[in-house]
């Protein structure tokens, strides 16, 4: 049971790390696919 619980906890932690890492790297689509000359918002 302990292995199962540890597995679930680690899976969630790794998923959160992935979330934080990707969100810090990735631009939103409206910024990624435009130039600075485009007026956004």
């Amino acid at each position: 049971m302990k292995s199962f619980i540890a597995a679930c906890v680690v899976a969630i932690v790794l998923a959160i790390i992935g979330d934080v890492a990707l969100n810090s790297l990735q631009q939103p689509a409206d910024a990624a696919f435009s130039t600075q000359a485009v007026r956004l918002g």
Binding site: S3, F4, A7, V10, A11, A15, T35
Partner: protein, 337 residues
């Protein structure tokens, strides 16, 4: 004088008529011979086949946006909405039907000599941790992935648009981010158990004798029998394929174009469906299909008689390695007073 003006009017009218007729003729001549978009019977499919893509000009950096119509996308949509649903439906419902029929015919494979009460360690804590991390991620990935293919036609009518939207949004987040522990788990499984999962002659004999599934035969096996080795390689190879194609999808247009992304989705979806079908068989045999099997991954230990009947060669190796009788006696339950 009046007659001259009458003749002039006739000549001017004839020339005007001739001019109009002459201008009309080249207009029809400019259209392609095989397609006349002015005709009411023109077919869109025919028009699209005349032009591989319909592409305009643009100024933004994303050059993919210049393509306005991508006819191959219609083939991809047909695959996603029709072909893939047939593949998934047949594979998953088919395996469920086979398992139900098999269970009704064979029942649970029992420990024929009964439990000895003595236990032997089969999987250590780290092995069980890696297995359960991969397995729980797989379950959530499978359910959220099936929602992408089947959710709209099957679930949306049941729960309504708003609930389906909310569920699908969270399911997709889970699908994306649980891919990381799943991939790590597949890599660890590959490294951890590669030594015991190389196919050999014992596995050929095991398959020839039906793996002990038919009748009361107990073909010998080492730590992993032929069926388990098949599951191992399905996990490693299938897991690698869905991970690679999945990350191509998660990082769109990093070195890929529209066609490549469509191919990646097709590979990801088909392999995932077959993967789910295979894992349903694995879950069956590890739970209701065989007495004593779940304990191996649940607690890490198995009954010695279970090991004798299903993995006799492994048990002999373990006894030779650890000593004649290192098995633990199963703790007896103390009755409440």
């Amino acid at each position: 004088m009046a007659k001259i003006f009458a003749h002039l009017r006739s000549i001017a009218g004839a020339l005007t008529l001739a001019f109009v007729v002459a201008m009309a003729a080249p207009v029809s001549a400019q259209q392609p011979n095989s397609v006349n978009p002015q005709a009411s019977a023109v077919k869109e499919q025919q028009l699209l086949q005349q032009l591989k893509t319909i592409k305009g000009l643009g100024t933004i950096p994303d050059t993919k946006s210049y393509v306005l119509e991508h006819p191959a996308g219609r083939d991809w949509r047909e695959f996603r909405t029709v072909t893939l649903r047939w593949i998934g439906g047949i594979a998953i419902l088919g395996i469920l039907a086979v398992l139900i029929i098999f269970y009704l015919w064979r029942g649970m494979v029992k420990i024929e000599s009964g439990r000895s009460g003595r236990l032997i360690v089969r999987f250590n804590a780290f092995e069980r941790f890696v297995h359960w991390m991969t397995a729980t991620c797989f379950i959530i990935l499978a359910i959220s992935g099936l929602n992408i293919t089947f959710g709209r036609p099957l679930l949306l009518p049941l729960i309504g648009a708003q609930a389906f939207t909310d569920w699908s949004q969270w399911a997709k987040y889970a699908h994306n981010y649980l891919s990381f522990p799943f991939t790590i788990g597949v890599v660890l499984i590959f490294l951890m158990w590669i030594a015991g999962n190389i196919p050999n002659k014992v596995d050929v004999e095991w398959f020839k004798r039906g793996g002990g599934m038919v009748g009361h035969d107990h073909p010998p096996a080492y730590r992993f029998n032929g069926g388990q080795k098949a599951i191992y390689w399905i996990v490693v190879l299938g897991g690698t394929a869905v991970a690679v194609s999945g990350y191509v999808l998660m990082f769109p247009f990093y070195g890929t174009d529209i066609d490549s992304m469509q191919y990646a989705e097709m590979v990801h979806a088909v392999i995932a469906m077959l993967f789910i079908a295979a894992m349903l068989g694995h879950i069956y045999i590890g739970t209701i299909g065989m007495e004593g099997a779940f304990e191996a991954m649940g607690e890490g230990t198995v009954d010695v008689n279970w090991a004798k009947e299903h993995h006799s060669l492994w048990l002999e190796d373990e006894k030779a390695r650890t000593g004649p009788d290192q098995s633990q006696r199963q703790p007896m339950a103390t009755p409440a007073e």
